[in-house]
C-alpha cells in the first residue's frame, strides 16, 4: 500500500442554513456523501453513510467486499430512518478505498448518486515533461440529466443548465438495495484524486477546477482552496472536496506504469 497524503474540506455554502454534506477521510477510506431530500433529514442520511465507512476504516482488513457491505448497511439504516414514507431522505455516496488485490494496491472506487470522483493521472515515464495533466471523471452520475445525455437527447453542456439537473436517480436509502457502481483501479504513485459533491462544480467551471488541482500545492492546501473558490463564486449548495495524493512507497518499484480506465465522456 502506498503512502497517501490528503486534504478534506466541506462547507454549507453561502445560502443554505444547513450542511447536508458529510465527508470522511481516514486513510485508506475516503468518502463524500451529499444528503438528498430537502426537509427530511438529508444531513442524517449522509452522516449515516459516513458512519458506516468509518466502521470500515477501523477494520483490520479492508477489501472490496467491505466497501460494498458498507454501502448496503448504510442503505438499510437510511431506509429505516423514514419507515413507510415513500420518498424519505437519502444520500449520494462517492469515494475511494485503498485495498490490496492479489498483492497489488488498488483503489476501490464507488459511486451512487451525482457526486463525483476525478483522477488526475501521473504523467507516464514517456510523456513530455511539460505536458498538462488532465482531470478525468471516473464516476458516472446517476441523474436524470445524465440519462438524457446518454440517450442523446441533450448534450453535456445543456445538462449543466437543465432545469432537472438536481434529479438523482439512485441514492443510498432510495431503494431496497443500493445499486452503486464500482471500479477497481491500480493505485499509482503520482496520481492525484478529487472527490467532491455537486456543489463544487455548480458555480465553478471544470477548467477552473482542473487548473487548480494541477497546481503542485499540497493536497490539503488544494482542498481548502477549492472550497474557497466555490464560496467566492457564491455557491448556493453545500460544497465538499477531498484531494488525495498517492505518494511513492520505497517498498514498490517506481516503474509502475500509469493506467487508463475508460473515462466517462460526460465533460
Amino acid at each position: 500500500m502506498h503512502l497517501l497524503d490528503f486534504g478534506a474540506q466541506t462547507d454549507k455554502g453561502a445560502i443554505r442554513a444547513l450542511n447536508e454534506d458529510s465527508i470522511l477521510a481516514v486513510p485508506p477510506v475516503f468518502v463524500v456523501a451529499d444528503g438528498v431530500g430537502g426537509s427530511d433529514g438529508g444531513e442524517v442520511a449522509s452522516a449515516l453513510v459516513v458512519e458506516e465507512f468509518g466502521e470500515l476504516a477501523r477494520r483490520p482488513v479492508i477489501d472490496a467486499d467491505g466497501v460494498r457491505e458498507a454501502i448496503e448497511k448504510a442503505n438499510t439504516r437510511v431506509r429505516a430512518l423514514h419507515g413507510d414514507q415513500l420518498h424519505g431522505a437519502s444520500s449520494t455516496a462517492v469515494g475511494a478505498v485503498g485495498v490490496m488485490s492479489e498483492d497489488e494496491p488498488y483503489w476501490v472506487v464507488f459511486n451512487i448518486g451525482d457526486s463525483r470522483i476525478y483522477r488526475l493521472p501521473a504523467l507516464a515515464p514517456d510523456d513530455e515533461p511539460d505536458r498538462s495533466r488532465e482531470l478525468v471523471q471516473i464516476s458516472v452520475d446517476h441523474s436524470h440529466v445524465q440519462e438524457l445525455v446518454d440517450a442523446g437527447v441533450i448534450t453535456a453542456e445543456e445538462a449543466e443548465t437543465h432545469p432537472d439537473r438536481n434529479l438523482v436517480t439512485r441514492a443510498v436509502g432510495g431503494e431496497e438495495t443500493a445499486e452503486a457502481d464500482f471500479w477497481m483501479i491500480p493505485m499509482v504513485p503520482g496520481d492525484r484524486w478529487l472527490i467532491c459533491s455537486d456543489g463544487l462544480l455548480a458555480d465553478l467551471s471544470l477548467e477552473a477546477v482542473q487548473d487548480r488541482v494541477r497546481q503542485p500545492t499540497s493536497a490539503d492546501e488544494t482542498a481548502r482552496d477549492l472550497i474557497a473558490m466555490a464560496l467566492r463564486a457564491a455557491v448556493s449548495d453545500n460544497v465538499s472536496a477531498i484531494v488525495i495524493d498517492v505518494v511513492g512507497s520505497s517498498e514498490h518499484s517506481d516503474a509502475v506504469e500509469p493506467t487508463t480506465v475508460q473515462p466517462h465522456p460526460g465533460k
Binding site: 472490496a64 442523446g152 437527447v153 434529479l167 438523482v168 436517480t169 445499486e179 452503486a180 464500482f182 471500479w183
Partner: protein, 403 residues
C-alpha cells in the same frame, strides 16, 4: 414421462426444433428468435447488420434467461431502454421486459407485463401461461399479414408466442442449434433427462464441448409458477431512465439510428429525487455463500479461487461494475507489453467457468483439455472445463483447475 423413451419420442428428440411457435406482424422492431429464446430490440440502422447477426447467435446459444442476459450484456444491450427477452426454461416461459415493450395475454387482452415505467429489468416467470403476445412500440388496429417465425430475425411490431404442446414444431429438417448439452436443460420437467444425440451444432461461437451439469430432476410435472432463486446474481443490470421524456426526442445519433417515439403518459410531479419503482423482480441472492467453481494457477505463481469474476492482465482494472460483480484482479508480468493491461476474464456464470477475451491487443488462446488450441473471439464468453489452460502470450499461461 416415466415410461422408457418410445421411438416416436426419440425421433422427436432427435429432430427437436422449437419449443414454441411464433406468429408475427411486420413492423420496425427487431425480433431475434431461436428455438427457445426470443429477443425484441429497437429498430436498427443498416450498418448494424453484422452486429445484429452476432447478437442473434448469442440469442440462440443461451442456455437460460440469466445466460441470455449475461451474453447480451457483453454487447451493452443491458443498457437499451426498450427491450424484451423471452426464454423457455424448465417448463415455463421466463421474460425480461423494459421500456416500450409489453406482454399481453392474447386470450383476454390482459397485460401481463408492461415495460412502461419499469426502470429495472424485471424477470417475470409466466407460470403456466401457454400463449403470450409481445407488443413493441406503436400498435395499429388495422388488419395485417401475420407470418410464422421459428428461428431467425424479422422486423415486427407484434409477436404471438404459443408453447402449447400441440403446436411445437417437429421437423425432420430440424437441426440442433447451440450447445447440445445445454439444450438438455431446456426440456420440460421430467424424471430423467432426455438423451440428446450429439449432432453438430450450427456454429455460433465455438464452445469447448463439455458435459453440462444436469440439474436435479423436477418433481412436478406441471410448469412451476414459482421462481427458484438464482444461485448467485450474475447479471449486472443498470437502471434505465427514470421518467417519461417531457418533450419529443431530437434526432440525435442513437445507437439504432432512429429517433425513438416518446412514450405516452403524463409528467410526474417534479420531486427533488426520483427513484426507480421497486418491483418484485430479480431476487437478491445472499452474498454469504459464493460457490467456488474452480481455481486458477498462473504460470507466474499464485492460486486464485473462481468464486467471482477474475480479471487478468499486466495492470488489470474493473470498469463500472455492480457490487455483486466485483472481481479479483490478477496482475501478470509482461515486460514486452504483449499482454494487455486488462486482457482476459475468467468468471463463474450459471455454474460454468466462462473465459472472455477483453478485446486484448494480441488475443487469448484457450487450450482445451484435449490439447486443441482455440482463438477466443473478443468479448465473447466461452465456457471451459477444469484442465483447460489460458494462454495470454509472453510466456504467461493460466491453468484452470478443479477447486
Amino acid at each position: 414421462m416415466s415410461e422408457p423413451q418410445t421411438e416416436a419420442d426419440q425421433a422427436r428428440a432427435a429432430h427437436w426444433t422449437s419449443q414454441w411457435r411464433a406468429r408475427y406482424r411486420r413492423g420496425d422492431w427487431l425480433v431475434l428468435s431461436g428455438p427457445t429464446s426470443l429477443v425484441v430490440m429497437q429498430p436498427a440502422a443498416p450498418q448494424w447488420s453484422d452486429l445484429i447477426s452476432e447478437v442473434w447467435e448469442e440469442v440462440v446459444s443461451a442456455a437460460s434467461i440469466g445466460d441470455l442476459a449475461a451474453r447480451l450484456a457483453i454487447f451493452n444491450l443491458d443498457r437499451m431502454p426498450d427491450f424484451a427477452a423471452l426464454f423457455w426454461e424448465r417448463g415455463e416461459m421466463r421474460s425480461l421486459v423494459r421500456g416500450r415493450v409489453s406482454l399481453v395475454d392474447p386470450a383476454t387482452g390482459r397485460p401481463i407485463a408492461d415495460g412502461e415505467g419499469i426502470r429495472t429489468w424485471t424477470e417475470i416467470g409466466l407460470g403456466g401461461l401457454q400463449r403470450v403476445e409481445v407488443r413493441a412500440g406503436e400498435q395499429s388496429d388495422d388488419e395485417e399479414l401475420e407470418l410464422p417465425l421459428v428461428i431467425g430475425a424479422v422486423g415486427a411490431s407484434r409477436v404471438v408466442i404459443d408453447c402449447s404442446e400441440e403446436v411445437q414444431i417437429h421437423s425432420p429438417q430440424g437441426t440442433l442449434v447451440g450447445d447440445p448439452a445445454s439444450l438438455r436443460l431446456l426440456q420440460a420437467p421430467a424424471p430423467e433427462p432426455v438423451p440428446v444425440p450429439a449432432s453438430e451444432p450450427v456454429p455460433a461461437t465455438e464452445p469447448v464441448p463439455a458435459p453440462a451439469p444436469v440439474p436435479a430432476p423436477e418433481p412436478a410435472t406441471a410448469p412451476q409458477p414459482a421462481r427458484e432463486p438464482e444461485p448467485e446474481p450474475t447479471i449486472a443490470l443498470p437502471v434505465p431512465p427514470a421518467e417519461p421524456q417531457p418533450s419529443p426526442m431530437e434526432t440525435a445519433e442513437t445507437l439504432h439510428g432512429q429517433p425513438p417515439v416518446p412514450p405516452a403518459g403524463s409528467e410526474d410531479e417534479v420531486a427533488k429525487t426520483i427513484f426507480a419503482t421497486n418491483l418484485p423482480g430479480l431476487p437478491v441472492a445472499p452474498q454469504a455463500q459464493r460457490p467456488v467453481l474452480g481455481v486458477l494457477h498462473p504460470s507466474s505463481g499464485g492460486r486464485i479461487e473462481i468464486d467471482r469474476p477474475v480479471v487478468i492482465g499486466r495492470s488489470p482494472a474493473a470498469n463500472r461494475v455492480s457490487g455483486d460483480q466485483l472481481p479479483r484482479l490478477l496482475t501478470v508480468p509482461s515486460p514486452s507489453h504483449d499482454i494487455s493491461r486488462t486482457h482476459v476474464q475468467v468468471a463463474p456464470i450459471n455454474d460454468r467457468i466462462v473465459v472472455t477475451d477483453l478485446n486484448s491487443t494480441n488475443g487469448t488462446v484457450l487450450i482445451a483439455p484435449d490439447g486443441r488450441r482455440i482463438d477466443l473471439r473478443p468479448g465473447v464468453g466461452v465456457p471451459v472445463d477444469a484442465g483447460s489452460v489460458i494462454d495470454l502470450g509472453d510466456g504467461v499461461t493460466i491453468a484452470v483447475d478443479r477447486s
